[in-house]
Amino acid sequence: MTEISSPLLRLEGISLSFKGVKAISDISFDVARGRITALIGPNGAGKSSLLNVINGVYRPQAGRIVFDGEVRRRMDPHRAAVRGIARTFQNIALFKGMSVLDNVLTGRNLKRRSSWLEQALRIGRAPAEDDAQRRRAEEVIAFLHLQPWRHTLVSKLPYGLQKRVELARALAAEPKLLLLDEPMAGMNAEEKREMSRFVADVNREFGTTVVLIEHDIGVVMNLSDHVVVLDYGRKIGDGPPDEVRRNPEVIAAYLGTRH
């Protein structure tokens, strides 16, 4: 079931529409274990919708999802999190009123065994578990070089760092599949380079499978092992970066023209 050769995630004939407006039509592709897959395409191509389908925020009208050997018609967000899917959002969705450390700790909520009462009274399993969770959170914070800001409110951090905290929160859940919705949007070249390196490090160090949406084609070609191109909710390209770059349909729809 979990042999290395089988894809971690397989989408089969996924279609999604909002009140009759088609967002995604009949999309199928595989995401290989331990690889970085990029989703690219012009605005409104259905990339974010597809991520929302994968982790259950949206329910597709047709098609099925095979994740880690388990076949589902649709996911729900909680179930997806339990099964090991974590994600970041295009518009940062951090918990603004909380510190960096607390945001990262929320990522570990599924790893808890002690009850809320044990935690509130600091008895039983809670103290040792609190230590263990903090240690894991600190590892993630250190991995993403966030130590100086661990007690800072996330709303006080600059944009680039907020993006990184969001990655930290997702990573703290120790996901099998990490979905990144434009992790480098709005960043300057320096920040993009840094973020690319973090994503590559996560992939290499933890073997986490990554699906990311990105518009910077240079970043995509360097970072990803596999590229899927969407246009108007259809898949128009699917393959290794070099192959996709030469695909005439992709050039016409996305690479060659300005949007």
Binding site: H78, A80, F95, D130
Partner: protein, 355 residues
């Protein structure tokens, strides 16, 4: 200079999680508790204990209850007084119908009944948010008040609907004197405040804030939304229920539905807005503002030479000034008194330097 963090390092995560990490904060807290438990009952006059400190403490506790729900978990509610009423009536009926039930257990069980009622009226929160939820909790407010007025069983079939609270006795000690009632109230307030502070710093508190700040992201990271929201309603209801029981037993000495009307719910809401949403200390600051300011204003107006303003107008004038002060204050500091307090501490940390 006096309030510096220098040299205070946490050697373990456990030490870093202490409720009051700074030595100065801990000492200040010990001193405050010592003062409140030992000095105040000895020197406080009956008027101060009865008319100022007890209502201040009970309203702080009610604020704490609502703040967990609204300030931390982000669920709006206008039903605070309803859950206070449930706590008060439950405690009264338990004392009446269960002979030999210790008072402390009765008050705690009153809180449990209020928690159950709160969860029940919190169920709509699983589907609706914001102002719509406000309306659903408003229904709790009207329904509970109607229930206790209409069904005379709750008030032991008394003709007026106003019933006298049973005497306050704990393990044979009579607590009916002002100092005794003050100490009983203080005990509950301190215990529940410490519990609440622990909860908001625990996983549950983080989950509440996550749901408040961005519920989609909370669900995506695996936080169970329904359970988290209902636990907020339960804990909030429990604390409000205990506050209601204390309001009836240690402050008023009577139990009546009209003491828990919509204006009480608004009062509790104002306390947390003025004090600071998502702050524990804010409830005490807000309650002090609400309780002490009108008293201060009436004292001030007493200083006016007689005849300048006639007595009937004076009371209205006080309300106008009170309202203006609230508006002015909220324009100046929308995040409440707790924010001012925090800024003061930030200043104190670097004093006498500016930065």
């Amino acid at each position: 200079m006096f309030y510096t963090e220098a040299g205070q390092f946490s050697g373990h995560y456990r030490a870093d999680r202490r409720l009051f990490r700074l030595r100065q904060d801990r000492y200040a807290l010990y001193a405050l508790l010592l003062f409140a438990f030992a000095v105040v009952p000895a020197i406080g006059s009956d008027y101060w204990l009865n008319a100022i400190l007890i209502p201040f403490l009970v309203l702080s506790l009610a604020g704490l209850g609502l703040n967990l729900l609204t300030g931390y978990a982000g669920q709006l509610s206008l039903g605070s007084a309803a859950f206070m009423a449930v706590g008060a009536f439950a405690t009264y009926n338990l004392a009446l119908r269960v002979p030999g039930l210790p008072l402390l257990v009765g008050i705690a069980l009153g809180g449990v009944f209020a928690a159950a009622a709160s969860v029940l009226f919190g169920l709509p929160s699983l589907r609706i948010k914001g102002f719509y939820l406000l309306v659903s909790t408003l229904a709790a407010q009207f329904f509970v008040q109607w229930l206790f007025t209409k069904v005379s069983w709750f008030s032991n079939d008394s003709a007026s609907g106003v019933i006298t609270a049973p005497p306050l006795r704990i393990a044979g000690h009579d607590l009916s004197n002002p100092a005794g009632r003050y100490l009983l109230t203080l005990g509950f307030v301190v215990a529940l405040t410490l519990l609440a502070r622990n909860v908001v710093k625990s996983e549950l508190g983080r989950n509440w804030m996550a749901v408040r700040d961005m519920d989609t992201a909370a669900a995506v990271i695996g936080i169970p939304l329904a359970r988290t929201k209902l636990l907020a309603f339960a804990l909030s209801g429990f604390i409000l229920g205990v506050a209601g029981a204390l309001w009836a037993f240690t402050y008023l000495g009577t139990v009546e539905p009209h003491g828990f009307d919509l204006s009480r719910s608004f009062q509790v809401l104002f306390i947390i807005i003025i004090g600071g949403l998502g702050s524990i200390a804010g409830n005490f600051l807000g309650a002090a503002f609400i309780v002490l300011l009108p008293i201060g204003l009436s004292l001030l107006s007493g200083l006016l030479p007689p005849g300048v303003i006639d007595a009937g107008q004076l009371e209205n004038l006080q309300k106008i000034v009170f309202g203006l002060l609230i508006i002015g204050f909220l324009i100046k500091e929308p995040e409440g008194l707790a924010r001012l307090w925090q800024q003061l501490r930030e200043r104190a940390r670097v004093w006498p330097l500016r930065y």
